[in-house]
Symmetry: C2
Subunit: 477 residues, 2 copies
């Protein structure tokens, strides 16, 4: 599987110098924009070079070795090119073309020809109807349509530690754009399209053993093989977030016309996620907003949250949200409340703690220590309004103290979203954009703690049973 | 009531040159930052001038007429100053000081003294424990704590047509900051604090007859007089949005410590909103994100929504959200689908319409006309990704066409929020920041249509009953 993300040589089949040729955008991106420095061949009828990539009339005409083929031609000729790849000895193929199982009987017949060739020659195929892969770490990407204008959104920023399995190109764009102004970035992105061969479970298995991936996030329109998905996900120690479209029959129908898979019954999908120990998210935005809770904060190990704010109304707002989410407002003892009161001019020392508007850096630091060291508190929901330059400096210190004490804080600054986003980017602190998002981050962190416990329990049980062993998931190369 | 927003002369009681004096920030804002050009007096022990405002030792020492007094002293001396105001003939008083009914028995005793003086002399009192008023149109504001750094957020931008009734200062800040980058702005903001006299119903009545207010938005921690609130709101023709804290007992407890009112039972509050024809919103952000649906789009008069997107996944996502919200996916006839298909290279002409990535301005315009003129469609949910400069130009045209056809579009551009916010500000088009927000905007617009119908029905019924007439709401000056 690693070859898909780290090839040394690639053939882009269908790349030519015709106007609006999508394959050409792939050649150009690989050869001109990205730091990846492998060899690229362009396969087209005329055998012409494309953006500096050597042109060939057929795959079998290529002289050097080829690790990976990217096919972006009309659907009708794809099966022939797959056969050429097999003949050339290329065993990894990404088919970006559409017009297969999502496109009626004719498309399904083409798909069957491809499947036969793949089986016969042991090929692994990604797609069809997909964008393929993007590896932010080495700069390799076979996404089509990346323009000089927007390539920095795709390949221009540093790589991070969140890897994505995404069935749709539009979602890739919004994730990468959002990461430009966030503290965590993408590591690898894979768009698996119709999943004729490689599916979400194969990718999960790969990302679990991929050292540079800390969190996996998925956008799915359907799950192909439920048992394989559950059994693979259940073995994962990394947090997995999933958003699935098709909660309603109207949404499911729309998804089906998009990537061809019948969206699964939503209640069944929900149950599968629970069994798999996968965290289901409620909005696309959560796929990029929540991972920083895992990458930039210790895990939440209990339900008891202490709220403190310099903007009184948000005490009540966050208390409502926490309780509605199933977390709890930590009950602070008299002793803790007295300690808090001694730090300075505090309006209200019971949880939610109202700091009032006038406060010093020293007071902030003392409050952090009191709350994070208290065995009455599992995590924090700080709501400090950025009204004074000192506040953002206090937040920087808070992040350090969270790591010191091993307890997380989901920080929401009650300011306009553009202001929050700018501060987050400038000071590289994990700020959330709404109180709802901060509470979700805590909830999801705690959910992951529970999932890990559940997984350990099952493994433990499994080991106790006679003949307990592994019997799942075909190995991937 | 208008005097509170348009005074010609104001006494700021408690403003001095002591360090950290909050009254001084009010004097400075009125005299230095704002375009409001009335007269300001500073009342303090030494009778010293403050930021150019003439100083006096007592209210009764002021020589000219005073329309409005703003009191910001320790709670203990407030009742004396209220008496001085009465003696001077000042009938409008804003008490910003805290320490009254939210502060235990001592505070309640002070409150009783103020109430007696007010009753005796026919004073109208706003607060205590509030920020008072801000009128963006004339630049008048008595908010304390506004600094040179942030005054532009409060008084620097143009005025708009949304007026706010807000029980908390923190919410004011987030609303004004957010409006800096939005297409609609605030008109008047009033922070009514503990509401010892003037309450949310009085303010609703005022905003209903205020020509420059188009939409009223409220943040409430409690409702003081349920019947008065319902009867006043029921008479309103302008949309009223309300967010209330205290859905859970923990949230209610936090709110109580903040502005002293017991938060009402949430189910009762919900019922009151329904009877009052008031729209309950789900998040603070909706108080500033949703009003533009009323100010920048025609009303939604039916449930049937057509979705179109150049980013396939969002067809399914928005279909799910629309159906879950109680709206409907419009069913497009064969005829309409054929018209759509003829406009150009469209992936899918049934609703949700998938435009595919390659599309021309002409195709966009034709699609807008076909959908907006169709009697199968009540409103649009366009999801155009801003991947090409043409797309934002098409959105500008779409807004014009919505007004032409009298049907709304809740536009969501599936891009990072900072990009959407920048485009919205630059092109002055009502873009929403998430698909969830766009669907809420449609839902809320339709809810307002239903509310207006309900109100007409009740009025009609009322007129038919013997002796039907008005018997509510004490008149406000």
């Amino acid at each position: 599987m690693d070859t898909f993300f780290n090839p040394r040589s690639v053939a882009v089949i269908g790349a030519s110098n015709s106007p609006f040729n999508l394959g050409a955008t792939i050649c150009r991106c690989m050869n001109e924009y990205s730091k990846w420095d492998g060899t690229v061949y362009a396969v087209n009828r005329k055998g012409e070079d494309v953006f500096g990539c050597k042109g060939c009339r057929a795959v079998t005409d290529i002289e050097g070795d080829v690790d990976l083929a990217v096919i972006i031609t009309p659907a009708g000729v794809v099966p022939d090119f797959v056969e050429q790849c097999a003949a050339k000895g290329i065993r990894r193929i990404i088919i970006e073309s559409s017009g297969f199982s999502e496109g009626g009987e004719e498309g399904r017949a083409l798909q069957r020809r491809i499947d036969e060739t793949a089986r016969e020659h042991g090929l692994r195929i990604m797609g069809p109807n997909c964008l393929g892969v993007l590896n932010a770490a080495n700069g390799f990407s076979c996404f089509y349509g990346v323009q000089p204008d927007n390539h920095h959104e795709f390949l221009g920023s540093e790589s991070g530690s969140v890897s994505f399995i995404i069935q749709s190109g539009g979602i890739v764009v919004i994730v990468l754009e959002s990461f430009l102004m966030d503290v965590v970035k993408a590591n690898k992105i894979v768009s698996i399209g119709n999943k004729s061969d490689i599916d979400e479970a194969d990718m999960l298995k790969y990302f679990e053993q991929d050292d540079s991936t800390q969190v996996v996030a998925m956008y799915l329109e359907n799950i192909k093989q439920g048992r394989k998905f559950i059994e693979t996900a259940r073995k994962m120690k990394k947090p997995v977030l999933v958003f699935k479209v098709g909660r309603t029959s109207e949404g499911a129908r729309a998804a089906m016309s998009h990537t061809a898979g019948m969206a699964n019954n939503d209640a069944v999908f929900d149950m599968a996620c629970r069994q798999a120990g996968v965290i289901r998210v409620n909005a696309i935005s959560e796929l990029h907003s929540l991972p920083k809770m895992f990458t930039h904060m210790p895990p939440l190990k209990g339900r008891r949250i202490a709220v403190f704010t310099n903007s009184g109304a948000f005490g009540g707002i966050t208390a409502d949200l926490l309780v509605q989410s199933g977390l709890e407002m930590a009950r602070l003892s008299k002793d803790t409340q007295e300690k808090l009161s001694r730090t300075g001019q505090i309006f209200n020392a019971s949880n939610p703690i109202d700091l009032g508007p006038a406060i010093s850096m020293q007071t902030f630091l003392e409050i952090f220590d009191i709350l994070l060291s208290s065995d009455e508190v599992d995590g924090l929901l700080p709501v400090p309004s950025l009204w004074h330059p000192m506040v953002i400096e206090a937040i920087v210190e808070l992040v350090k103290k969270c790591h010191h004490y091993g307890k997380p804080a989901a920080i929401y600054t009650p300011n306009a979203v553009h202001k929050t986003v700018n501060y987050r980017s400038k000071y590289q602190v994990p700020l959330f954009e709404s109180p709802e998002e901060a509470v979700r981050a805590l909830k999801v962190s705690y959910q992951n703690t529970l999932n890990l416990a559940m997984k350990q329990g099952l493994d433990g049980l499994h080991a106790l049973l006679p003949g307990g062993g592994e019997k799942t998931c075909a190995g991937m190369g």
